[in-house]
């Protein structure tokens, strides 16, 4: 499965010789370029810089501290924090002593924290602040194996908590320093004796259908991913280098962000920047102006919605200029799509004019001015959105991967973009489409080792020949590009026996800045219906401009005018689809879907079954002849 040739090739591109695990790569960088910037972290308005030397030294101290706390080879260390440098120190330090990292979403409520900590059996938890610490302490009496809790931010904790398992980050590092003084080479030795099949991390799937399962990624899996990043012919062209700048803002416990933050950083030395908090990501993007941006569809949707809101409040001249440029962007986007993402002379000329009068400034405001590579992944995205970004000059590429294959599946390559597909398989990645079920199968070194403590689930996913069953249905386009239809489980079979992919329809609806959530329903039904949740910011803005008074989300979404607005969006979508795929009725969600109430996963994916169950009566009403509640028809 592994190709020795490409290994050699990769070592040459990264220039790191024999260093072939995540911690060793970082140690090697610290030795070769100790004073170069590895990451920046914004605190009190300043971007504090961390050099490679500081990165490795602190990670090494974390490793020593873990040893001093009695962490053994193969143990699990959980991290429950927003993105910040301590996350990376903890991750690398843990893997350096041959233990495995388990990431928890900062938004995880206590019951989920309990599930993840109990399922993984973590003996040490690194919690960011009082908020995360309280979640752990609330359920810690059910976690006998949890021996130590390290907290990073001491505010509100020091002097207020008496639990003897607690230790501050500062003391934790002091512990490491003491251990290092006594056993100077303990971490080095462990890191060097690591085996390729050592467990590096447990990444919990989002769990749209059941409780999250821990996917085991080994050192070799991670290494495979790092090697893909470092290659010239996967993702970027020209290849990413230490001059590339990124902003890390999606949860690090998700495989995609871990890949783009930790692994890419270790692999090619990109500079990672951490925003102050989730709320300040927009500002951070603007200040950092990253060269490489990875986003999930929701982020790109929000950016577009933000542009529309701010534009609607702009002066007449600005609106006019923007309108003209958007028409041009539309045309440029269309041409680029037809040309696989390559410019023609005419598009270049038109783009240049629009760049001078609008796009340059627009991209600067969005923080995408210097972006040479933008990617969308982790969930399906409406092609219209990708086209919009291509039109304003952001080179947007849809990529495909999942936790179980270390995020390495396929990607649209610069210059060979085929809109609506997830691109071509990476070098060294085998992808095939099952002839009977249409399911996409992948096979490569990055395929995970199995689900933690769930052999039967593993057996369902990984077959004897080493193929990973992704659970996605897809097909080949032009024999080179992979197109994903939907999740197998989500495919709707109508009462008429027609197979329909709901996510395509949902994404088309969500391409409107006014729609935040759309859930298409119709399995074993006569026709399709949809539950639609509005984007409060844009619709609220729209309502204000029409002097429409409203109080709450519910009040707003039940306004007949808003319903009419959404009806327009639905009609527009219906035009794009065949008769059986049109939405005959829809119902406005009276509340925003929420992670805490179990309607969304930590990654903001809709849990269909939970939503369908919660709004069952409204759904039934749409299929009976009586007028559905709140429909105002």
């Amino acid at each position: 499965m592994t190709d020795a040739g490409s290994n050699h090739d990769d070592a040459a591109t990264t220039g790191l010789g024999a260093a072939t695990t995540l911690p060793l790569r970082i140690r090697e960088r610290a030795r070769r370029s100790p004073a170069q910037i590895a990451m920046r972290d914004k605190n009190f308005g300043l971007w504090e810089q961390t050099t490679w030397n500081e990165y490795w030294e602190t990670s090494e101290l974390v490793g020593h501290a873990l040893l001093s706390l009695g962490v053994q080879v193969g143990d699990r260390v959980a991290v429950h924090s927003e993105n910040r440098r301590e996350w990376l120190f903890a991750d690398v330090g843990t893997v350096a002593v041959r233990a495995a990292t388990v990431g928890l979403y900062p938004t995880n409520p206590p019951p989920e924290v309990l599930h993840l900590l109990r399922d993984s059996g973590a003996s040490v938890l690194i919690a960011e602040d009082q908020e995360q610490l309280d979640k752990a302490l609330e359920i810690s009496d059910q976690l006998p194996q949890l021996r130590h809790i390290v907290y990073i931010e001491p505010r509100g904790i020091t002097g207020h908590y008496t639990d003897e398992r607690l230790i501050s980050w500062q003391d934790f590092l002091v512990l490491g320093a003491e251990h290092k003084a006594a056993h100077p080479s303990a971490v080095d030795e462990l890191a060097e004796s690591a085996q390729p099949d050592d467990l590096a991390t447990l990444i919990y799937t989002s769990g749209t259908t059941g409780p999250p399962k821990g996917a085991m990624l080994t050192l070799d899996n991670v290494e495979f991913a790092i090697e893909r990043f470092a290659r010239k012919e996967a993702f970027f062209r020209p290849a990413a280098t230490s001059r590339d700048i990124m902003v890390s803002y999606l949860p690090l416990c998700h495989v995609a962000e871990r890949a783009f933050t930790t692994w890419l950083n270790a692999g090619v030395g990109t500079q990672v920047n951490f925003a102050e908090s989730v709320e300040t990501v927009q500002t951070a993007l603007r200040e950092v102006q990253p060269t490489i941006v990875f986003g999930v569809p929701r982020i790109w949707e929000k950016i577009v919605a933000g542009i529309h809101i701010r534009m609607s409040g702009a002066s007449r001249l600005k609106r006019a200029v923007f309108g003209v440029c958007m028409k041009a962007a539309d045309w440029i986007g269309d041409t680029l799509v037809a040309n696989r993402g390559q410019h023609t002379v005419l598009t270049r000329l038109v783009y240049f004019i629009c760049w001078v009068i609008c796009f340059r400034a627009l991209r600067e405001r969005l923080g995408l001015r210097h972006t040479r590579y933008a990617a969308s992944g982790a969930a399906p995205i409406a092609p219209e959105l990708l086209k919009f970004f291509m039109g304003i000059g952001v080179k947007m590429h849809e990529v495909y991967g999942m936790t179980e294959n270390s995020a390495m599946g396929s990607a649209n390559m610069p210059g060979r973009v085929l809109l609506g597909t997830v691109g071509e398989p990476h070098p060294g990645v085998e992808i095939t489409v099952d002839e009977n079920t249409g399911e996409i199968l992948t096979r490569h070194r990055g395929n995970f080792a199995g689900y933690w403590n769930r052999p039967e689930a593993t057996a369902e996913t990984l077959d004897a020949e080493g193929w990973l069953h992704t659970g996605d249905v897809g097909e080949w386009v032009e024999d080179t590009h992979l197109k994903i239809t939907d999740r197998i489980k989500d495919i709707i079979i109508t009462a008429g026996g027609k197979n329909i992919s709901p996510s395509e329809i949902e994404n088309s609806l969500k391409a409107s800045p006014y729609v935040k959530e759309a859930v298409v329903i119709g399995d074993r039904r006569r026709f399709l219906t949809a539950l639609i949740g509005i984007e409060q910011d844009t619709v609220g803005d729209w309502a204000q401009q029409r002097r429409l008074a409203f109080t709450t989300y519910r009040d707003l979404s039940e306004k007949p005018e808003v319903r009419e607005l959404i009806q327009g969006v639905v009609d527009e979508t219906n035009e794009k689809f065949a008769q059986v795929e049109t939405i005959k009725k829809f119902w406005m969600l009276p509340k925003e879907l929420d992670h805490d109430e179990g309607e969304l996963t930590a990654t903001q994916k809709v849990k269909r079954s939970a939503v369908e169950q919660q709004f069952a009566s409204a759904i039934e009403a749409m299929y009976t002849d009586r007028v559905p509640e709140g429909a105002h028809q």
């Binding site: 320093a177 950092v288 002066s315 600005k318």
Partner: protein, 393 residues
Amino acid sequence: MTTPNTSNIGARAYPTAGKPRPPRGRALLRTSYAQDMALLNTPAKRWSTLALIVAGFLTPLLITDDLLQVLTLGLFAAIGAIGLNLVTGYAGQVSLGHAFFLGLGAYTAAVLGGDAEGRLLGLGMPMYIWLPAAGLVAAAAGLLIGPIAVRLRGLYLAIVTLGVVFLGLHIFREANTLTGGPGVGRRAPDLELFGINFSASGGIPGVDWTRDQQLFLVALVFLVIFGVAARNIARSGVGRAFSAIRDRDVAAAVIGVDLTAHKVLAFALSSFYAGVCGALYYTVVRVIEPTSFDLLLSVQFLAMILIGGVATISGAIMGAIFITALGRIAIEIAHVVPFVSSSVTGGGLFNVFQLEGILYGLLIIVFLIAEPRGLYGIWIRIRNYWKGWPFSY
């Protein structure tokens, strides 16, 4: 086993030395507070300032001498306006006494730098003595006014400073041996620095420049020096204390601002600027007449900062140039508009001097109502329009 040094473990390596530039093309990515506080903290500001200074130094080559003289007076007046802005704009202490400090500076310079053999008292000292002395004498007077400001606020303070103007006017009228007396006055000293007499044509060796061109150059250099100094005061702890006092003195005192010290300091600094302005301004006018330091002069300086922009340095400069050029603007209007005569005796509805007075009043009213932030505010509006492009906010 050696005990490890654990004191700085986990301590963050804060950037300390100097002010490292942010990465290229990312001016907003600040890695130290020094970058954030820098006077020219964005490339756009750096480039436009450079362009402005270059344009400033090219001006004497491009503009006729009579216009140049108006601008020179404007630049020197700007130093005084900046001074008034420090005490009134930044520290919020209304001062009508600015004319007194200007006069004090002008006469100090005249006495120290004046002809030792002449009719009036003169010591014949060089400029590097009379110029700082003019500032210091005025500052000393400011120090005396300062304590009053500690006890009074708003209108009451304005009335007291008004009293200072009348006291000063009386002294200037009566001290004949120093000032020459009303209607006569005395000559201002020559601007002579580094052996170069800027007040005489061809003063700079090897360059064939007129008096007006040379004086403009001197004015520009002094304005840059005093302007940069004032910007630095404004962005320092002292400047922030001034603003805190302006916004609410009780609140400022609560957060630890020493009211007495800062109010006195504001008056002293402002008076220093006024003294220097007075000394320099009259080297262009040549004759110092004691009755010119009256309330009208104070009001003119207030108009400069109101029309220019309260609590801004660039606003004070714009306002000063605008107000000093108002006479000239009135004359230009008289050429175009038929019912304004260009001389005192000529026909027409009113003459240029009356027009100038009317313009004063109108401008102050219009600015206070329509754009309280002055010319600077207009500039900010224009800048923000383009800064937000393609959005409005």
